[in-house]
Symmetry: C2
Subunit: 176 residues, 2 copies
DNA sequence: AGTATCGACGTTATAGTATAACAGCTCGGC
DNA sequence: GCCGAGCTGTTATACTATAACGTCGATACT
């Protein structure tokens, strides 16, 4: 019986496990509690290779937490967003993990400077971090006397893989 | 009985009326039909000084179109977005008008290069058009082999008016 | 130990946003 | 007149999110 927290870790792969441990340390530093449910939800998000919707998470969470209901998962998601451990992709109403380096840059600042590239075909979403984009937006805002708080910068289109795939399909139809 | 279309125009103010006529010409040029319902929904959006939700529009639409249901308004909204006559503000799940100059710049291009400043307090939302922001985002996308289609660039914060209001309230509490 | 408090969670109900599916109608071209 | 395409009517339902209230357990202070 070497601690239930450690048992939870075993439910995810090694890679995810490392990230979860890192997240736990982040929460410790913030004086907040990464409970079993929160840790589990974070694990589910991290284990996915694309953004996950709240009700998808709920279905998966129920496999281990029978009593889980929508508020269960939304509360966990709210917490994880506050900790900067996940982000919401607005266009998809779905969530992606964002576990930084331990000594990673200031999250409070980082949090509203993130950008996403969202593939319309495969839904895979990558986070990019080009401060100049958010900076340009904030500069424009300042010219309107606008005080910024949170930005949503998302670009929907085709990822490199799906472009290549589409090209291949095109070639097949018109081999000349 | 001088045409029902003209009668519809009378339901909105002069300013909105002009924009509606302009929108009608845009649709003509595109070979698409600005029907009564679509025109009415566009008028309601244009008449509001802040973004309007679909079900708000539905309530208002029902005052003249008794049988209107959610699909009625969503269809109109889809059409108007395709025509570039309105935009959706993702953070609010609400819609704002965007009727350009008659000889306005290319809409297909414009459409995915728009940015919004959204006030958390009063909800008023202004559209800004800083090509450099969208350009920077697309340049970053290109470096990932990503082919862009539509961007969502929204900044939530406090508009100049609400900042001033907040300052005044602050002064009142601490007059020193 | 007693107890006040606070944060997390359980549970039920409901609000808010959006679309599926199919039927009927109208308008313009033939 | 008839056909086809596009627009609308209608019903039902899916999906996303939160309100409201009760319980429980850990913590800290007495």
């Amino acid at each position: 019986m070497a601690g239930t927290g450690a048992m939870m870790g075993a439910m995810f792969g090694a890679e995810t496990g490392k990230l979860l441990d890192r997240a736990a340390r982040t929460c410790d530093r913030n004086g907040s509690r990464l409970t079993d449910i929160r840790r589990h939800v974070l694990g589910l998000v991290l284990d996915s290779d694309r953004p996950v919707g709240a009700y998808d998470l709920l279905d998966r969470l129920r496999q281990s937490h029978k009593g889980a209901a929508p508020p269960t998962v939304y509360r966990a998601l709210d917490f994880l967003q506050e900790q900067g451990l996940i982000h919401k992709v607005e266009r998809l109403s779905a969530f992606v993990g964002c576990v930084q380096d331990d000594r990673g840059h200031d999250h409070a600042h980082h949090d509203h400077k993130v950008q996403f590239l969202i593939c319309s075909v495969c839904q895979r979403t990558v986070e990019i971090d080009e401060p100049r984009i958010a900076d340009a937006l904030e500069a424009a805002a300042a010219r309107h006397g606008f005080v910024p708080r949170r930005s949503t910068i998302e670009l929907e289109g085709l990822c490199a893989d799906c472009v290549a795939e589409a090209d291949r399909a095109e070639q097949a139809r018109e081999p000349g």
